[in-house]
């Protein structure tokens, strides 16, 4: 059964040996303990030990010369190590002798318990396994409702740190993982786990072992990870079974939490929807107060958009945390593929304060980069309940622009300049102008100055009569030109998107 023999270092870090101390260490050899042999007294003469631990139940005096003699006999009998009752330090002679004979000497207040544990991990791994699993099951039944209680209970049963980690190795709950453990975890675990796959074992260079079991449930996959400082084979075999028992319970707790999150998010989103539609009713105000939202005062809207698939409800906590970390008390609401947020001030902020706030929001964005690929727009300061809608609209527009502008760090603050100026500024960029020219190319060299006609038509809110008046032409001429433009460009001018694109393009081309 040598494959079950743990190293001495691993045993020393194992839960059954918490109270075992090293009285004399040998750096050179790292013995494997093949079993355990008990003798009553230090005067015992052990027979052949073959790497087993020699346990002495009675050893009152650790400075006794008979301990030196026993070290000598144990070494000659091939002991893996020597464990004495008591934790008093050895005499210098015994220490020197242990070092010379390369026999580690351990001490423990309860040597029989240490012996029993070693015997169990070397000879009866199934007993250890079933014991741990049964204890986990009965402890889970008593564990409290939340996720942390489940993880804590599991950690107590295993006497090992237990972590709930994301697919990238980031800690979601429980004991935080070290950076190198996180890296090792992320590289070893598959992106898409298979439900019936065996638990994963990751050996770290330090000799520690991570054991991971997938938690499958709603939302992205995560891993239940137990960290063993040393690899005791029986324990390495037993822990995954415990984790497999715990994993569904963790999944259930996560689903419940998810449900709460979703419910809260829905509540917030619907309330924001009502706020955005004009003056809030009495009932809406009351609900806002319930959620702790301050409707009066001066609001600065912030729109945080996220690239790719993002769990908006699940990640809201990260966003709130990022704002808190920068000292900003922001209301954060899940909306679409990102979050809408606003910061309320009692009085109108000064220009400097607005600048400082914008800088702080920028730092929030940088904090979020670790979890979310975010682009951020910030609106102007607006007063009153309706101001929330206004500033959020500006922030939304700004965010839309910020998304394509890597040169500003995908951050845009609508400051004193209005949004229109910003848009115009954008139309003068090198990227937009060629696109605008290409868009208008079909009507450029046509008779009847179609480009100017289009510009005027769009400026006059698509009024043919007004266009004719501005250009000093007949109403029918104007209508014919519009029809021709629509035909040549192949567009429908009643479509707002297309109209906007053409409008912007017609603003930029006449400057040439």
């Amino acid at each position: 059964m040598t494959d079950l023999a743990p190293t001495l270092a691993a045993m020393l870090s194992s839960p059954g040996w918490n109270d075992v101390v090293v009285l004399a260490a040998t750096a050179i050899r790292e013995p494997r303990l093949t079993g355990s042999q008990v003798v009553l007294e230090v005067s015992a003469h052990p027979e052949q030990l073959d790497g087993r631990l020699l346990v002495v139940l009675l050893a009152d005096d650790h400075a006794d010369w008979r301990i030196d003699a026993l070290i000598s006999r144990a070494s000659a009998a091939g002991a893996g190590a020597l464990l004495l009752a008591g934790v008093e330090p050895l005499g210098r002679g015994a220490q020197l002798l242990a070092e010379r004979l390369q026999l580690s000497v351990l001490g423990c207040p309860d040597p029989l318990a240490a012996h029993e544990y070693l015997r169990r991990v070397t000879a009866e791994p199934e007993v250890l396994r079933s014991d741990l699993v049964l204890r986990a099951v009965s402890a889970l039944r008593r564990a409290g409702g939340d996720l942390n209680a489940v993880l804590r209970t599991t950690a107590d049963v295993l006497d090992r740190p237990v972590t709930l980690a994301g697919a990238d190795g980031g800690t979601l709950a429980g004991e935080p993982l070290e950076p190198e453990e996180r890296t090792a975890l992320a590289t070893s675990l598959p992106r898409v786990p298979v439900a019936w796959a065996a638990p994963y074992r990751i050996d770290l260079p330090s000799g520690a072992v991570l054991l991971a079991v997938a938690v499958l449930g709603v939302g992205p996959v995560c891993w239940l990870v137990a960290r063993l400082p040393g690899a005791v084979p029986a324990e390495v075999a037993a822990v995954p079974d415990v984790l497999s028992v715990v994993a569904p319970a963790v999944g259930e707790r996560m689903a419940l939490r998810r449900l709460e999150l979703e419910r809260d998010a829905r509540q917030r989103t619907s309330l924001l929807g009502e706020l955005l539609h004009g003056e809030p009713s009495e009932a809406t105000r009351r609900r806002a107060v319930d959620l702790g939202w301050q409707l009066d005062g001066w609001h600065t809207g912030i729109r945080i958009g996220a690239e790719g698939q993002v769990d908006v409800a699940g990640r809201r906590a990260d966003v709130v945390e990022a704002f808190d970390a920068e000292g900003l008390r922001a209301v954060v609401v899940e909306q679409g593929d990102g979050w809408s947020a606003w910061i309320t001030a009692v009085r109108e902020p000064t220009a400097t304060e607005v600048q400082q706030q914008a800088a702080a929001i920028r730092r929030v964005q940088r904090r979020l980069v670790q979890t979310v690929d975010a682009y951020v727009g910030v609106g102007r300061v607006q007063p009153g309940p309706s101001g929330i809608a206004t500033t959020l609209a500006e922030a939304g527009d700004a965010a839309g622009l910020a998304r394509g502008r890597a040169e500003t760090g995908r951050f845009l603050h609508v400051d004193r300049l209005g949004l229109a100026q910003l848009l115009l500024a954008w139309t003068r960029t090198d990227t937009f102008q060629p696109a605008a020219r290409a868009l208008l190319a079909p009507i450029k060299d046509q008779p009847g100055d179609l480009v100017t006609t289009l510009a005027v038509y769009l400026d006059t809110e698509s009024s043919v009569a007004e266009t004719a008046a501005v250009l000093g032409i007949h109403r029918n001429t104007a209508a014919a030109r519009i029809a021709k433009i629509q035909h040549l460009l192949g567009v429908d001018l009643t479509n707002p998107d297309e109209r906007l694109a053409l409008h912007l393009a017609s603003r930029t081309t006449p400057t040439e």
């Binding site: 005067s43 400075a63 010369w65 008979r66 030196d68 003699a69 026993l70 070290i71 000598s72 006999r73 070494s75 005499g91 210098r92 002679g93 020197l96 002798l97 010379r100 004979l101």
Partner: protein, 356 residues
Amino acid sequence: MSTVVRERDLTALVVGVTLLGSGGGGDTRAFGRMLRRRLGAGELVLRDAADLPDASVSPIGVVGATSVLMEKLPGGGEFDAAVRAVSRWTGTEVTGLMPLEAGGLNGLTPLIAALDLGLPVVDADLMGRALPRLDQFSWAVAGRSLTPCALSEPSGQVIVVDNVDAAGLERAVRSFVAHTGGWAVLALAPTAVEAATADAVQGSLTRALALGRAHAALESDATPAAVAAGLGGRLVGAGRVEEVARHLIADGGAAFGRGSMCMVDAGSHAVIRIETENEYLLALVDGTPVVTTPDLLCVLDRRTLQPIAVDAIRTGDEVVVVALPGPAWWRRPDRLAHVGPQAFGLSCPPQLLEAS
């Protein structure tokens, strides 16, 4: 065959009895100086029992805390008082002296007493080395009574003890010295020389003299092996003392300082540990017992080769440890039980050198 001791032999004799002390037996220097003064230009004959066929010899020596001797000095009349007391009690004139113990200062005290009292000295003693307890007198081991006997202490108090066994005598002596000056002269009953020496170790002082001369003949830069060979013993090891541990244990009313010292042999790097009480008792090399009482363990200063006593050894001393054969008298299984390691509470069978 008799041995004659003159002034020039005294240095060797003092070193010899110190070596027989096996680290115990008390400091011999003070009595060495006293003996040198008493002897002057004269000579002292260490006699064989056969030379004094009609003598009644009394074994004599100092008992109690020999370390107190350095503070509570002898008054000069203690030997006389003890010998007179035991003569008077037994009604037998003491016509010769013999040492109680050959190791340590008690190898010298009978010689001083003999010079003071003008009595001959028989070279036979009851231990052949230094041992801590009265029940380890060869007479007691051989079944001979130690009483009647007389004790006298420096301020003049004298007691005579009779009708008690060795353990009882031990208790009487301990309580007497504890309540007086810390030490006393013990004189046993005068006994016909043939009977007195039948159950005694013969020739210990002659051996001490030979050992001292061999010690004096050692080169000052002798290797540890050469030192051991020169003294006729076995080298246990040589190196630096790593640790000296001492603790008191209560043992039948008499508290002996149990302790140990450990060192690493400079050549083999073997770990050497020596268990001590009043004497060096047991030497282990790499955890294996190699020498035990009644053989002699001598710890010598590496540089000066002077013997170091148990209470003088210190961490950091550079020492040579040599084992010398103990008195042949003890090498019988029934006698070994009284002076072997078990007699000192060390659960280990006696490990003796090959008889020389």
